[in-house]
């Protein structure tokens, strides 16, 4: 049992987050994914050849190459194989073209003109493999006046309208803590590929997918876009508040000092912040919240009598709730609220997430053994299919880990030829020949 997409093969040029995530989901669903990377310009998510190994890995004897120990890269490339190829060299391009007959899917997230310049655009590749499914994932899409403007999550978030809506009620627009638009575009990229696969299953026809990070993310504020079209209202930033329901927020629990800066302290054990997320989405939940908090005066307060009244007096309401939560142990308050049917959750940090029994029981968090970084908890596929259980996730590949195997298996490159290709820098592992750090 290899997962629902067993038998599908993807030869991909994805890098950084969104592109790599789209093809990681293929791999987690059982497809064979060969990721191709250039030694001369390593995936930006591996960092750089001269970067440091992360602090927490410095006592791990196998963690010697920073580019193989990047949390960013290793988080979004699970279960793939990797081949390095210098696509700037004729030999590298020929090897790449030689692999295409074996591919069902090709994905790339270079700037739009790059694949054309390399002679590997959709037209060129379908001349080799007529039913190929190819997806190009770019900042602004394959055409239009902004097509050649580069972008990353941190700039797509502003230009897709998300930053303008993200932030505290009294504060400026923010970018998210981790670039949300990449996660969106990557998930949409995978969605596009399986949509095309279903059509190919029906008809035998492949196709080309043009995925703009801006457009895929813009749709996620679509209700604000429609609101503006329908009413002329430009929606303000709302913090953790909900358009309809109150209360709806994240409040400090016992031990939380508001204003304290936590994070990036080596030796941190986790669980040092204490926040309760809670919401009441019905009259019953509001009544239950008042009961759990032992605040009958809330229930009888006309300012809080209906959801409409609570929305009108949300500042006072939030202050009252925060004063209550500040005296409660986080997990005790959450348990009591949940038992009473109120929407509630603790805000977990990375260490707590890694240990979370629900995520582990569901197989969403798995311990993944990486040959250099060691064993660490990782998130895996965000959906589960009952009839096609998945194999355990495999660690992200080391740079060039499967180069020789892939070239041998598909293109009959023998060991001597492989060594020659390594010497000339066409493939191999780590910094290219002549690299000076």
């Amino acid at each position: 049992m290899g997962g629902p997409l067993e038998g599908i093969r993807a030869i991909v040029l994805t890098q950084a987050w969104a592109g790599s995530l789209s093809t990681e989901l293929l791999a987690l669903m059982g497809a064979e994914v060969v990721q191709i990377e250039a030694r001369r310009r390593l995936d930006s998510w591996r960092g750089s050849y001269d970067g440091p190994v992360p602090a927490g890995l410095r006592t791990v004897p196998t963690a010697v190459h920073a580019w193989n120990c990047s949390p960013n890269f290793n988080a979004v490339n699970l279960s793939k194989q990797e081949l390095t190829l210098d696509l700037q060299s004729e030999e590298g391009i020929e090897l790449f073209r030689g692999l295409i007959p074996y591919a069902d899917i090709m994905v790339e997230n270079f700037s739009p003109r790059v694949v054309g310049n390399l002679g590997i655009d959709y037209e060129a590749l379908t001349a080799i493999k007529s039913d190929l499914i190819m997806c190009s994932l770019s900042a602004y899409g394959a055409d239009g006046p902004w097509r050649n403007i580069p972008g990353i999550g941190g700039t797509i978030e502003p230009t897709s309208g998300q930053s303008g809506l993200l932030g505290y009620v009294d504060g400026p627009p923010l970018n998210s803590g981790r670039m949300f638009p990449d996660g969106v575009a990557g998930t949409y990229g995978f969605a596009a590929l399986v949509t095309a696969l279903h059509y190919r299953n029906r008809t035998g026809c492949g196709q080309y997918i043009d995925l703009s990070m801006q457009e895929s993310n813009y749709g996620l504020i679509g209700d604000a876009v429609l609101e503006q079209a329908a009413t002329g209202n430009v929606r303000p930033r709302m913090g953790n508040r909900h358009l309809t329901f109150a209360p709806h927020g994240i409040y400090p629990a016992l031990g939380q000092v508001v204003g304290q800066v936590v994070g990036q302290v080596p030796g941190h054990a986790g669980g040092e912040e204490h926040w309760v997320a809670l919401a009441a989405e019905s009259a019953q939940q509001w009544a239950a919240l008042c009961a759990v908090a032992e605040r009958p005066q809330w229930a009888s307060d006309t300012r809080f009598a209906t959801n409409e009244a609570r929305k009108l007096h949300e500042d006072e309401l939030d202050a009252e709730i925060a004063a209550w939560t500040a005296e409660q142990e986080r997990d005790e308050a959450v348990a009591a609220l949940q038992a009473a049917g109120v929407v509630a959750a603790p805000v977990l940090d990375g260490f707590e997430v890694a240990a979370d029994p629900t995520f582990r029981a569901r197989g969403y968090v798995q311990d993944v053994d990486h040959p250099e970084a060691g064993v660490h908890a990782q998130f895996t596929a965000p959906f589960r299919l009952s009839g096609t259980p998945l194999e355990p996730a495999r660690a992200a590949p080391l740079m060039g880990e499967h180069s020789e195997e892939v070239l041998s298996r598909f293109l009959d490159i023998d060991h001597d030829d492989y060594e020659r290709l390594v010497e000339s820098g066409v493939t191999g592992k780590g910094p290219p020949p002549g690299y000076e750090g």
Binding site: T195, A230, G239, L243, A277, L348, L385, G387
Partner: protein, 404 residues
């Protein structure tokens, strides 16, 4: 064109036009999944309770009183109101489910069983059905019976812990972005199951999507960064050039200096030639460690510029940059207009403009055909198409009040 076949061949094919979907979901996440199924060609029937879906009571509202969010997530679907508390209502639902390949729901585990269309029935009677459950916490693992929403998804996934500012409370994503992302994941899971069915004699299965795990998509790198660093990733003390939008003369602007040439060219555009020439700034880690030495000067220069002028100047040099655009500015955006990223439903050409396709497919395009239906608007047609009911039967259901 000389015959009907030619007309069919000329019409754009739709990737999922072989699929009928029963949409029982009551959440934004579930209904976004089915909206995408509809946009790529599936016939999606929203089954609403008497009085209409709760989504129709969510703010904000258009001038005519209709919920904007409901207009967004219910578009492209047909609607029937059905009282599943009534035996005839359950019977009609069961008939529709039997004739459909995909069922999407968002209820607490056990809800479908009480309607006679749960997993046991699926396995015994409709093994080709793909049942998609989109719920806050998933179908098992210990939290499955707890209520939840995007707030709890962001809290449990870890994402809230890194979002917002370090000296403030953690932030969830704005609006319904987290719910939509879960909807995209559910769509992807449903179509993955379709691909499996294509190759395995139509065999269906149960797709289990937890909104908290979909939110984990955006936390996955921060999770591993936490474990590799031996320190929580945490929230940033404030937005600066390395992390997000900073003030410019007419708004806010992001200039993430993630590559050496971005730095050189951006400093040139800002008239800071000395910083542009400083080779030490070629390294990302050097920026981070010495941010205090250059940040005030750079941000002072940026505060004197207009965002679109700056974007044009930097874009010409292929520097990664982005102005913060609001919904009014987006609706006039020349690039999105050129890409046809605003669409009126083809059957409602005078209606509101919707955001367009999330991705462009060369052979099987996304399409928005219908505005959101009124609750129960298509009941008669749906019962004829999807349940093979005769008009007499349908009349009987209406008389008994089963159709809401």
């Amino acid at each position: 064109m000389t015959n009907g076949d030619a007309v069919t061949d000329d019409a754009a094919a739709r990737a999922l036009d072989d699929v009928r979907v029963i949409d029982l979901s009551t959440s934004v996440a579930g209904t976004w999944c089915t909206r995408l199924l509809a946009d790529f060609g599936a016939d999606v029937i929203a089954v609403e309770p008497p009085g209409g879906s709760l989504l129709r009571s969510l703010a904000p509202f258009a001038d005519d009183g209709t919920s904007v969010i409901a207009s967004y997530v219910l578009a492209n679907k047909r609607s029937i109101m059905l009282d599943v508390g009534h035996p005839q209502g359950r019977r009609a639902l069961s008939a529709m489910v039997r004739e459909s390949q995909i069922v999407v729901e968002s209820g607490t585990p056990g809800t479908l069983d009480s309607w006679g269309i749960g997993l046991d029935q699926r396995d015994a009677r409709w093994p080709k059905q793909i049942l998609v459950s989109v719920t806050p916490h998933g179908q098992d693992g210990g939290r499955e019976h707890l209520p939840g929403n995007d707030l709890t998804a962001y809290a449990y996934s870890g994402w809230a812990s890194v979002n917002g500012l370090a000296d403030r409370e953690p932030l969830k994503g704005s609006g319904y972005t987290g719910s939509y992302l879960a909807g995209v994941a559910a769509y992807a899971g449903a179509v993955t199951a379709l691909c499996y069915a294509d190759q395995h004699e139509g065999e269906g299965q149960h797709v289990d999507v937890a909104e908290s795990e979909a939110a984990g998509i955006v936390f996955a790198p921060a999770l591993l960064a936490t474990l590799y660093a031996g320190a929580v990733a945490g929230r940033k003390p404030g937005m600066d050039l390395m992390t997000g939008p900073v003030p410019v003369r007419d708004g806010h602007f992001a200039l993430t200096l993630s590559r050496a040439h971005f730095w050189r060219d951006a400093m040139t555009v800002l008239g800071l030639d000395e910083l542009s020439a400083d080779r030490r700034f070629d390294s990302g880690w050097y920026h981070r460690e010495h941010r205090d030495e250059f940040m005030p000067l750079v941000q002072e220069r940026m505060a004197q510029r207009d965002k679109m002028e700056l974007f044009d100047a930097l874009g010409t040099m292929r520097v990664v940059a982005g102005p913060v655009l609001d919904t009014a500015e987006l609706s006039e955006n020349e690039h999105l207009r050129a890409r046809a990223a605003f669409v009126r439903p083809s059957e409602d050409p005078e209606g509101l403009e919707y955001p367009g396709a999330p991705f462009v497919m060369s052979e099987t395009p996304w399409a928005l055909d219908r505005r959101a239906p009124r609750a129960g608007e298509n009941a008669v047609r749906v019962l004829r198409d999807a349940a093979d009911y005769t008009d007499d039967w349908i009349g009987g259901l209406a008389e008994q009040g089963v159709l809401g």
